[in-house]
């Protein structure tokens, strides 16, 4: 075989199985979904027209964008605070920060959503405690609404926001910060005028990742929203399994992919992919 197997043949033989697998099990059925969006229930652009006129679909799109925007701002800010300590803290502080970032990261989305139900529900930890100290008489509505969804999603996405920020902070030259301090800048001023601007690419990357993830989020809103604050992903699920209106579900999926694709293209104009890891 030696020498007979040309480079091109070898590459093709090794790369073909996966490309074939994904072509048949992913690309082909995706085209099928696109076809659904144009043919069900009747051939034509009807489903895309419905997207523009259906009040329910529109309100879900607007709610999803609003929740995604709030979750992005809160998660990136919170992630920034803990990443500073993870990257720049003393060895003990770093270990604690790493524990608090990685343990939730590896725990499944269901367990984490359930943890928030245990904390926020009417008979959960927070309401039980507030009632026992006599602070409130009726339980607060902390879950099965948009507040619960935002809390749960923020909790899920903070670890994802941490990684691009950490990579930006690690590559930052310490001497610049020391120079700023040496020239008489206060701790606060150094942080806001030197440290934060120098991690800009990390902030953009982290915000984009969180925003894109939020748009397609399914499990957390479905559990913590309790069917009352439905987001795009849950709407797709409902259209396919409950109404069933496969065409509309497929059309929403196609729009979602195009939107996310446009956002990613925008992201890569500003940030190189390597800065995101």
């Amino acid at each position: 075989m030696r020498g007979i197997l040309s480079d091109r043949m070898g590459a093709a033989l090794l790369m073909a199985p996966l490309l074939l697998f994904l072509g048949l099990a992913y690309a082909w059925p995706f085209l099928g979904v696109v076809k659904w969006s144009f043919t069900l229930p009747t051939p034509g652009l009807g489903q895309y027209g419905a997207l523009l006129t259906d009040d329910l679909v529109q309100s879900v799109f607007i709610r999803t964008l609003r929740i995604a925007a709030i979750v992005t701002v809160v998660s990136v800010a919170a992630a920034y605070a803990i990443t500073v300590v993870w990257v720049r803290g003393s060895p003990a502080q770093r270990l604690i920060a790493e524990f608090c970032i990685l343990v939730p990261f590896w725990i499944s989305v269901l367990t984490r959503a359930f943890g928030w139900v245990a904390l926020l529900s009417n008979r959960g930890l927070i309401n039980t405690w507030l009632q026992s100290i006599g602070f409130i008489s009726e339980p607060l509505a902390l879950v099965r609404n948009e507040f619960g969804v935002i809390v749960g999603m923020t909790h899920f996405l903070i670890p994802f926001a941490v990684f691009p920020l950490a990579s930006a902070m690690r590559s930052l030259d310490d001497r610049v910060l020391l120079a700023a301090r040496g020239l008489g800048s206060s701790r606060m001023r150094t942080f806001w005028t030197v440290f934060v601007p120098m991690t800009r690419s990390g902030i953009i990357g982290s915000a984009m990742i969180v925003f894109v993830f939020s748009l397609g989020f399914f499990v957390t809103p479905a559990i913590l929203g309790g069917g009352r604050s439905v987001m795009i992903a849950e709407l797709i699920y409902l259209r396919i399994f409950q109404s069933p209106d496969w065409g509309l579900g497929a059309a929403i999926s196609v729009v979602l992919v195009l939107f996310v694709g446009a956002l990613m293209a925008l992201l890569f104009r500003y940030v190189r992919p390597k800065q995101l890891i």
């Binding site: 790369m15 300590v85 903070i158 396919i240």
Partner: protein, 268 residues
């Protein structure tokens, strides 16, 4: 060794974030010990009845075994496919590599719900042909999980290949090794840590996969997350709290062991 340390204000804010991150994980512990049949805080006495129901109710054990089976099969498929593909990329550096890798990473980038609809389409189409392999079968779930995990396995293996010294391979080639010998006797032993990590990550991702599983199963292929989902949506079953506590403890232990081995490797 950074000399620029975070100040007291940063530390306080970071501590609040850390508390926020750990809070829901700690909250499940008291709930799991409640004597009540519904989700509630224990008042006074504690009970292990929900831990007992995990053992006594056969549905939990069945779904755990099913999840393990699906995890092993899908992890094997995705690791082998990812390994071959990555070796092809690294050894031959074909044209259009960036495009092909981008294609392979699609299931990781596309919103999971769209992948779920896509795989639902695939498996319902297959169901028309075979009842053994399609919608709501364990093999169908395993294949769908492979699609979702293969990009992660590919990234991990490509990263460990990128740290490999090309001259080792050139030397083997110069000494007359065939493609097969170069791959199995020179390259793979040097990236075995990356391959093992890829297999483990694929297993873990499959083990906790719910977004896609929800779309492609109904009554037969009930994986552990699927069963938890059912218990979370209707009347919240405190047995889920007991199960969550166990899963959290396992996660913490695995992370501790892993960081111990990472330190060991770094120290060598």
């Amino acid at each position: 060794m950074p000399t620029y340390r975070p100040g007291p204000v940063s530390l306080v804010i970071a501590a609040l974030v850390a508390l926020f991150l750990l809070m829901p994980l700690l909250a499940v512990i008291p709930v799991s010990l409640t004597p009540s049949r519904m989700l509630a805080m224990p008042t006074g006495e504690l009970s292990l009845r929900h831990y007992r129901s995990l053992i006594e109710d056969p549905r939990w054990l069945q779904s755990i075994l099913l999840s393990i089976r699906i995890g092993i099969v899908s992890s094997a498929i995705s690791t082998v496919l990812a390994l071959c593909f990555s070796l092809g990329v690294w050894m031959f550096q074909p044209r259009f590599t960036a495009t092909l890798v981008g294609f392979v990473l699609l299931p990781m980038v596309v919103p999971p719900v769209v992948s779920a609809v896509t795989l639902y389409f695939l498996l319902t189409s297959i169901s028309g042909v075979s009842s053994f392999f399609g919608y709501d079968t364990w093999l169908g779930v395993a294949m769908a999980h492979s699609v979702m995990t293969v990009p992660f396995a590919t990234v991990l293996i490509l990263v460990s290949l990128s740290q490999l010294d090309r001259r080792i391979d050139l030397a083997a080639r110069g000494l007359g090794a065939s493609v097969w010998e170069r791959a199995t006797r020179v390259i793979m032993p040097n990236i075995k840590f990356g391959i093992i990590t890829a297999a483990l990550l694929s297993f873990v991702l499959s083990w906790e996969e719910i977004g896609v599983t929800l779309f492609i199963t109904s009554v037969n292929a009930i994986t552990l997350p699927r069963l938890m989902w059912m218990g979370l949506r209707d009347n919240i079953d405190p047995a889920i709290a007991a199960l969550s506590v166990i899963l959290i403890i396992v996660t913490v232990l695995v992370l501790a062991v892993r960081s111990f081995f990472v330190k060991l490797r770094a120290g060598r």
